[in-house]
Amino acid sequence: METLLAFVIGGLYAAGLYMMVRRSIVRMVFGLALLGNAANLLIFTMGRLVRGRPPLIPEGAIAPSAPYADPLTQAMILTAIVIGFGIQAFALVLIKRVYETVGDDDVDEMRITDSLEHK
């Protein structure tokens, strides 16, 4: 299972980075979403993958009996998903506004901030 997830995560990172280096800002936002999901799955895998064993501490013990999946990573992903959702929502509005002001979704057309000539 870990091996499979490793490939999935690697694929997501690769796809996300590929989308981000495209010239279209729409693809860039999709790339961001993929990268965010890749990072979340990475954290998820880091908490170990164990099925059907809730991390409950038996009476009298001080730690759950191994093997168990770490619930803290899942809580962290929850935070990261919420933050990622907010950021992606913002990014979508931003690219819409950029498209309206620039009139193009090609990043190569957005060079007035970097060129030496200016108004």
């Binding site: 990268l35 990475l42 954290i43 913002f90 060079r111 030496l116 200016h118």
Partner: protein
């Protein structure tokens, strides 16, 4: 008072909420904003005084014992950063009273400013890596909106670059945090430090160190990851770019220093050697980029990059004197850089442009403003007796003591080129004749003068004050550096004394 550590977080939060609630009542909102910023500054100074008197302050949020809960911790370095953030916040809020137009204020300018301050202060006082990520995001989302607010074409293009590259940095940070948790099973920084001291040093640790270096390196605009900064910092209104220039990259630098003094200290020859190399390259590329520019704020933006190089130079050398130099440099730089951007805002108000080839004759028409530019500009270049001189002196001397002669020479040469850039602005904008025969100079009312000039005067006085009385701040920086180099005190303060 034991809860003093919470105030730098609560005050901006409450101010942001209160100013949101007074959305439609502009004057009340401004009053709340100024009071909130003033209260934050007061609380930050109190925190600094408490940390100086009683040592490291720690709060376990919700009373969960470390390392299980979220820890807030302020050592001297954190407290100094919070104090200077409070000063910058107050200055920028006062300046915005005049400079922010109704278009900005009615779209939530004041709440966003305080949320930005909340994120900055949160990053400085947190003792938990995941919490640091959350504060970074709080800061980022506020900065995204502040940057794009107004919606000019330039701003939109700058915002796309800024947002994309900063979100990549966040993904790197999140991935690094995830892997580190998988390795160590904790994200409390003190607990991590203790774990990493005893753990075998494997290749994975170096990989992690590099992931953190990239993540924080993008945020702090290190070579070769700085491209978002000169593309975006000159686009928003002056007050916004002033607070960005003062605080945002410095949060990245703070995190770098924190992580590379507390966690990744096992393979110093490699990690800190690399940081030293990057520091040199950052200084040189930043200053050379500035030479090519011909717009007031673009020149200043490239200088931020070059100055960040100085700040991590001390981290790369990794001696007590060098780290003290870094801390001193950060404090000096935040004050000076914010002031320069504030000056650029007034220049734009007076002349309607920041293009150096169209400016000129400001020395004749606005002598006070010229003086207010000259003080931070010369301080930035490192001329005695201003604060930048002592900061550069401390760093160069520690480089010579550590026998890193190439970096010392680089630092001195870059200082010279900085002076060249500053004289370029001075010569073209202030001294030279204006190319346009009749310059329509806007008049400022007495009240708007007060709002614009007061923050600049205060910051300039602080610069001169640090310059003339460098000893107390340097002593404090030395103490902060000592705490950074001996993490045992930090670890004990967070986790309690251990058997």
């Amino acid at each position: 008072m034991t809860n003093i550590l919470l105030f730098p977080l609560l005050i901006p939060l409450v101010t942001a909420i209160a100013s949101l609630l007074t959305w439609n009542r502009r004057r009340l909102q401004r009053l709340i904003s100024v009071c909130g910023a003033g209260a934050l500054f007061t609380a930050a100074i109190l925190l600094l005084a408490t940390v100086r008197r009683d040592g490291i302050q720690v709060i376990q949020v919700g009373n969960w014992p470390a390392p299980f809960g979220i820890t807030l911790v302020a050592d001297l370095f954190s407290a100094m950063m919070v104090a200077v953030a409070g000063l910058i916040g107050l200055s920028v809020v006062i300046y915005s009273l005049e400079s922010a137009d109704i278009e900005h204020e009615s779209f939530g300018y004041h709440p966003l400013l305080h949320i930005l301050l909340l994120g900055v202060c949160g990053s400085f006082v947190t003792g938990d890596l995941f919490n640091l990520y959350v504060w970074f995001e709080v800061m980022l989302i506020a900065s995204f909106v502040l940057l794009a607010l107004g919606g000019h074409r330039e701003q939109m293009e700058g915002a796309i670059k800024y947002v994309a590259l900063n979100l990549i940095a966040s993904t790197f940070l999140l991935s690094a945090i995830g892997i580190l948790y998988g390795v160590a099973g904790t994200l409390n920084m003190a607990d991590l430090a203790r774990y990493l001291q005893g753990a075998p040093h494997t290749g994975l640790m170096t990989v992690l160190a590099m992931l953190f270096l990239i993540a924080f390196g993008i945020k702090s605009a290190l070579f070769p990851l700085f491209f978002w900064l000169p593309a975006s910092y000159h686009t928003p209104p002056a007050a916004v770019s002033a607070i960005f220039a003062g605080l945002l990259t410095k949060v990245g630098v703070y995190s770098l220093i924190r992580v590379f003094t507390l966690l990744f200290v096992r393979d110093i020859a490699f990690t800190h050697g690399l940081i030293l190399l990057i520091a040199g390259l950052t200084m040189v590329t930043g200053v050379l980029g500035a030479v090519a520019q011909n717009e007031f704020r673009r020149v200043l933006s490239f200088h931020i990059i070059s100055q960040v190089g100085y700040m991590i130079l001390g981290l790369g050398l990794f001696t007590k004197a060098a780290l003290a130099g870094s801390v001193f440099y950060i404090i000096h730089h935040i004050i000076v850089k914010t002031n320069l951007f504030l000056v650029s805002g007034v220049v734009r108000r007076l002349r309607g442009t920041l293009d150096l080839s169209r400016l000129g004759g400001l020395y004749r028409s606005a002598p006070a403003l010229s003086l207010l530019f000259l003080i931070p500009a010369l301080s930035l270049a490192g001329l005695p007796p201003l604060s930048g001189f002592w900061a550069k002196l401390a760093l160069v001397r520690s480089a010579l003591v550590a026998e890193s002669y190439p970096i010392a020479v680089t630092a001195l040469l870059v200082g010279l080129l900085t002076l060249l850039s500053m004289t370029k602005i001075w010569g073209k904008a202030f001294w030279g004749e204006s190319p346009e025969a009749d310059v329509g100079e806007s008049e400022l009312s007495a009240l708007s003068r007060l709002s614009l000039y007061l923050p600049m005067i205060i910051l300039a006085l602080v610069t001169v004050g640090i310059g003339c009385l460098a000893e107390p701040l340097y002593a404090m920086s030395l103490q902060a550096a000592e705490q950074l180099l001996n993490p045992a005190g930090y670890i004990d303060a967070v986790l309690g004394r251990t058997p």
